[in-house]
Structures are given as structure tokens and as C-alpha cells.
Symmetry: C2
Subunit: 228 residues, 2 copies
């Protein structure tokens, strides 16, 4: 069966993709008001499909609608980042479980190739490259394991990509030489089709990131208290 869903692409969907990109790439900044008339003109469309796109983004929490006042790019606090990571923990845990169930042999080959370029280095210096690989890895696993609802939740809420943006260096919460072992363990579990381990390891992996985020909040709070 062929997917014909995207056969026609309406203006509002195009606008949606463009806006999403503008937000993620920081062309529209958090807190900023979205100028409907101007943006519609820039995109060469009317306000109708633009507003339609904004409504989609509102559901995805990328944008906040305030009645009679307009749409604003959403702003996330560190506390909210933690709740996003908590969601990733359980959702990607589920995705890892399902991936272990579903994965095909050809996909195992691909999975095993992740982090190959970082095999030899004890100290990984290419942080940026590692961060990219990290993202690709998580997307690959969820791509195999998450369908339908789980997939749309992970996609819609932009949990993955967003999570990476607001934290520490290059979007990594913890240093590569610590997380690479965990990544390898997850790869092994999924390749062995060990669903329970895959879920557990993925959850532990993300739980540790959450712990770091909580620490950061705590130390910030103390610094602020001292300064004040």
C-alpha cells in the first residue's frame, strides 16, 4: 500500500513547515510576537493558511495563542525542559522496546554502524559531530520503534530536536565519553532483540541526563540566591 497522504500539499501545511523551521532555527525568537500580516506577505500567502499553520504549531506547543492578542513563540524554562526529558524517558523507552521487537536484520546492520567514527578515540574531541550522531541515533531508534501515535507525539512535540537546543554545549547534557558506552549498550540490546533491556537502558540513559539538568537548576538557584 502506498501512502498518498502527502499527494496534495496545501498552503497551510507548507506554511507550517516553514514556520516550524523558522522557530527551530531561531529566526523567530522565543517570546516574540508573530506578525501575521507581515509574515503572510513575506510568504506570499494570505492570513488564512498562515493562521491555520499557527494553530497546528499551537497544538505542538511551539507557539502560544493568546485570544485577541495573537500568537507568540513559546519560551521554555529549565523546569519545563526537565518535564520534556521525562517524557522522552518514557516515550523513547517505549520506542526502544518496540524497536527491539520490530527491527529487521538489515536495520541491525545500520544500527551497529552508529558511533563508528568515535570507536578509537578515548577522548572524543569532535563534540559537534558527536552531538549530530547522538541526534541521528535517537531518531533512528524512534523511527524503527515508533509508529502512529507514539511517532506523532514524538514528532509533534518536537521533543527530540527541542530538547537538544536549550541545554548546555551543542545540545549535549553529558560528555560524549560518558554517554557513548550507554549508546553502545542500547545498540546491543536492540540488536539482540532484548526488549526489556532496550527499554530499561534507554530510560536509564535519559534519567541520567535529567539528573544533570536538576543539578544545574539547583546550582543556578544557589547562585541566584547568593547574588540577590
Amino acid at each position: 500500500m502506498v501512502n498518498l497522504g502527502a499527494e496534495h500539499e496545501n498552503l497551510d501545511h507548507k506554511a507550517y513547515l516553514i514556520l516550524k523551521n523558522m522557530i527551530i532555527s531561531r529566526k523567530l525568537l522565543p517570546g516574540e510576537k508573530i506578525p501575521q500580516e507581515k509574515l503572510a506577505q513575506d510568504l506570499g500567502i494570505s492570513r488564512t493558511p498562515l493562521v491555520s499553520a499557527l494553530k497546528y504549531l499551537e497544538k505542538e506547543k511551539l507557539v502560544e495563542a493568546i485570544p485577541r492578542r495573537g500568537f507568540y513563540v513559546r519560551l521554555f524554562s529549565k523546569e519545563e525542559m526537565i518535564s520534556i526529558f521525562e517524557l522522552r524517558e518514557v516515550l523513547e523507552g517505549l520506542a526502544a522496546r518496540r524497536a527491539a521487537f520490530n527491527i529487521r536484520d538489515s536495520q541491525i546492520q545500520k544500527l551497529r554502524r552508529f558511533f563508528k567514527q568515535f570507536r578509537k578515540s578515548t577522548d572524543i574531541t569532535d563534540i559537534k559531530g558527536y552531538a549530530t550522531e547522538d541526534r541521528r541515533f535517537h531518531n533512528f531508534v524512534t523511527g524503527i520503534g515508533a509508529k502512529e501515535f507514539l511517532k506523532s507525539i514524538l514528532e509533534n512535540y518536537n521533543i527530540i530536536s527541542y530538547s537538544y537546543q536549550l541545554v548546555s554545549l551543542e545540545g549535549l547534557v553529558r560528555p560524549p565519553n560518558v554517554t557513548i558506552r550507554e549508546h553502545r549498550a542500547i545498540i546491543d540490546a536492540i540488536s539482540d532483540r532484548d526488549a526489556d533491556s532496550a527499554e530499561d537502558l534507554m530510560r536509564q540513559h535519559l534519567k541520567r541526563a535529567i539528573a544533570i539538568l536538576r543539578q544545574e537548576i539547583e546550582s543556578e538557584r544557589q547562585t541566584t540566591a547568593k547574588t540577590a
Copy 2:
């Protein structure tokens, strides 16, 4: 701080609530096409806010938008019901965990009152009443534990209410006298603020429902195979 979010209520939001209700209460049936012009007239509004409402419902998966063809009430297969339950498993598990962390003493009192009316009966005959209590219980727990994203996912996707609609008798997957023990165990864990147990028990609770659903699918498949 007072919540002023719902101060103004736009037409599209009103339409959204009405439509959601119409779908849940089966005034609009799964698979049915939504007649925009007629419905707009019935509601006394134009197509603009109606379509806007439909876009919200599309994101919630209650409605499917087919470009140039219109909106259709979504139809869920039993397989999809399973993936919804899998989501409930991890999301309500997280909610139970958070509830155990957050719950206030006054809320513990309330929590302990759930299923009180079924205490004495070894065989619960009021299935409908039990089903209602079941729903209220799950909503209460998620109400305490889920905020922000988790809350909106659970709400938006209507996972809870929807889950109950399409399965077995009165929306219950398993008989009351089996599940009531599990409910009580969850209540105890949350009241004891034992987050790990609360999460684990909630997950086991839902896992068992999933197992039944899988069995039902399997036996259906065999029946169909025989008939065909």
C-alpha cells in the same frame, strides 16, 4: 496568580469543544465525513472557525484531514487501540510516579475514597458504576501527576476516554473483581509516596489490559481464518 487564559473564548474553541463532544458521544460516527457547510449552519457560525476547530481535532487524531476531500471522523483498529494502551502504560506510569511525588495530604484523603462503594462486594455487579469510577480514578491520578506537556498529551490525544470506548463491556477490558486489587495497590503506593512502586504498579495494571487486548485480536484472527 490567576489563570486568565480562558477569559475570552473564541468561536473556534467553542466549536472545538462541541465537535469533540459530538465525536465522543457518537453523534458523529467513525469514518463519517464531516459536512462543513451544514455543521457550520447548525452551529450558527461560518466555516472559518469550524475548520479551525477541525484542525485542532486533527492534531488530536480524532479527525483525519484528507486534502481536497475534507475531514473524516477517525476510525481506530484494535491494533491501534493496543498502541494507545501502550502509551497509556508509559504516560500514566509517569503520571503515577509524579503523583506520588507531588500529592498533598488533602489529596491523599480523596484518593483513598476511590472504589469505596465497592469495598464490601466480592462480586461487583454494577459494571457501569465501576467503569465510571475506574475512569474517574485514572483521571484523578493523572490530574495530580501530569502537568504541562504530559497533561496536554494525555488530554489532547484523549487517550483515556478514547481507550474506554472501543473495548469490551462498558469500556472495561478486565472484570472489576480482578482490577480492584490493582487499583487499591496503586492507591496505597501513591499515598505512601512510593514513586517507584506507583509507576511500576500502574504500568503492570495497564500491561495486563494490553495482554487481554492482544488475546482478543488473536482469537478474532483465528475465527476469521476459520470463517474465510
